[in-house]
């Protein structure tokens, strides 16, 4: 891989201020930043608001285009764009999920989903945008079917985790749902029949070389045959599956532990995101952002398929923020742009660039 020998540096492109409390999460609009469409992302905060940031065509810098407020009454914990980029889902400690529609640059709350008993912590759209998943403090994962007229019908309430569920994430191509929890486990959910018969098909726990403390986040590689998870146990773990089997057997093939990235982080890892070209970014409570790439032994002498792939640290940005880094997200555009959100109330845009020779 090209990254192994090249030297990279992380350039701070912009620091965005506006939120008046910690920024918990951010999400790039997947339909922007390509084909000349200015890139857009949303951020959400302990200040109960969501902010929409858009890149200026003339200056290239990001400006706050909208503040979505007076809908959520408590912390907005997480947000996610539908695949078309037309809808934004936001979840809050106020126990609700809000769906916002972008109407000519104005954001209108078109639906509010109620059902969770208390804090909702994460939201994810499936690849086609027909299903939405949410999870929260009540230990459950909910699956909602998107219906005409901004109606959302709950088709499943999944119970299985024994503690609050920190994050839900759909597989990038298949309708298989992944959740991770304060109970240290990752659970995989699939529809076993035609009748919205969602069941837990696999649990990745400590006995499967899994995490020994809270699992905060997960992310897939571009092909969807590998997943990375991050944890309070200070490790990242790489998991793999047989994608061909997963596609043919109607959705599910077992996932297994491939590799553990340990010894690099000093405090809880809150966020992990795998770029299209294979760079894993992590954001942690030690204020740092780190980048990892798969490392292949060129001589082949020490490469053993049995041991799984190994990963090396490409770069560590100490003091990326003044406080905890809560979220790191690669942009969908051409450049290697990363956005990070922090307890210090700011968002930073970074470019990972090769060091000029």
């Amino acid at each position: 891989m090209e990254f192994v020998d090249g030297r990279f540096e992380l350039r701070e492109i912009q620091k965005l201020e506006g939120h008046s409390d910690r920024v918990w999460s951010l999400a790039w609009n997947p339909a922007t930043g390509v084909d000349g469409v200015p890139s857009v992302f949303a951020s959400c905060s302990g200040d109960k608001t969501v902010r929409i940031w858009e890149q200026s065509r003339s200056t290239g810098s990001w400006d706050c285009k909208a503040v979505l407020e007076e809908t959520h009454t408590r912390t907005v914990r997480s947000c996610a764009w539908s695949p078309s980029g037309k809808l934004l889902a936001t979840v809050s400690f106020d126990a609700t999920t809000a769906i916002w529609e972008n109407v000519g640059g104005d954001f209108e709350c078109v639906s509010t989903l109620e059902g969770h008993e208390n804090e909702v912590k994460s939201v994810s759209w499936n690849a086609s945008g027909s299903l939405l998943a949410t999870c929260g403090r009540d230990k459950t994962v909910w699956i909602w079917e998107v219906q005409p007229g901004h109606e959302y019908e709950c088709v499943a309430v999944l119970q299985g985790h024994t503690q609050d569920v920190k994050m839900v994430q759909w597989h990038p191509t298949l309708d298989v749902l992944f959740s991770c929890s304060y109970d240290n486990n990752i659970k995989i959910w699939a529809d076993e029949g035609d009748d919205d018969d969602w069941v837990c098909v696999q649990t990745l726990d400590e006995f499967n070389n899994g995490h020994s403390s809270t699992v905060w986040a997960l992310s897939f590689n571009s092909s969807g045959d590998k997943m990375v998870t991050c944890s309070d146990d200070l490790t990242l773990k790489i998991w793999g599956t047989d994608l061909t089997r997963m596609q043919s057997s109607d959705g599910y093939a077992p996932w297994r532990h491939l590799s553990t990235i340990a010894g690099y982080h000093d405090r809880t890892i809150f966020s992990v995101h795998w770029s299209r070209e294979g760079i894993i970014a992590s954001g942690a409570a030690d204020d740092a952002i780190r980048f990892f790439v798969e490392s292949e032994d060129k001589d082949g002498l020490f490469t053993s398929k049995v041991d799984g792939p190994t990963y090396k640290l490409l770069l560590k940005e100490e003091k990326a923020h003044d406080m905890d880094v809560n979220s790191v997200q690669w942009s969908p555009g051409e450049k290697r742009l990363l956005a990070s959100a922090s307890d210090d109330g700011t968002i930073k845009i970074w470019e990972l660039a090769p060091v000029p020779c």
């Binding site: 408590r74 912390t75 912590k121 304060y182 309070d232």
Partner: protein
């Protein structure tokens, strides 16, 4: 809420005499004085000024008198901006352990520079559900959610409220 006191007859210890902090010499008048263990202790249990006497929620005694917190149980590394406070509940099934820990965290968050990383834990072997209490106290999402809960926040503020006389 509990009907009776969890520990009706706690052992009360004498308050320790405070060291007098040395006045900065003229030579380093503008030097930044690093935060040390005593300063953290004073933040948590200031009974020499009128700012705050941190009361054990169910007793009129301070956490110092109950030896829930001692200066020895505070570790500070100002260079690394790190504090760890280890507290000892009076009984090992103390149901107030989480709220005490939450109060300690809130007090430190409000008093220390934001660069500080704070870990709060119960003393090893001092609590029946030690691991669960520690995990909860150090999960910042749960702490954030708890502090948005008006009744819980009232309770914390009451514990941290200044008392006079």
């Amino acid at each position: 809420m509990v009907s009776g006191l969890i520990n009706a007859n706690p052992v009360i210890y004498e308050k320790k005499e405070r060291r007098v902090r040395g006045a900065p010499s003229d030579a380093d008048e503008y030097a930044v004085e690093p935060i040390d263990e005593q300063e953290i202790f004073d933040i948590l249990l200031n009974d020499t000024e009128k700012i705050c006497i941190f009361k054990y929620p169910e007793h009129p005694y301070s956490l110092e008198e109950l030896k829930v917190i001692t200066e020895d149980a505070i570790e500070v590394n100002d260079h690394r901006s790190y504090v760890r406070v280890t507290f000892t509940p009076t009984v090992e099934h103390c149901s107030m352990a989480t709220i005490i820990g939450l109060c300690l965290r809130v007090k430190l968050i409000r008093s220390l520079p934001s660069r500080y990383k704070v870990d709060i834990r119960v003393a090893p072997g001092s609590h029946a559900t030690e691991a669960a209490v520690n995990k909860q106290l150090n999960d910042k999402e749960r702490v954030a959610a708890a502090l948005e809960n008006p009744s819980l926040l009232d309770m914390v503020d009451e514990c941290l409220a200044p008392t006079y006389g």
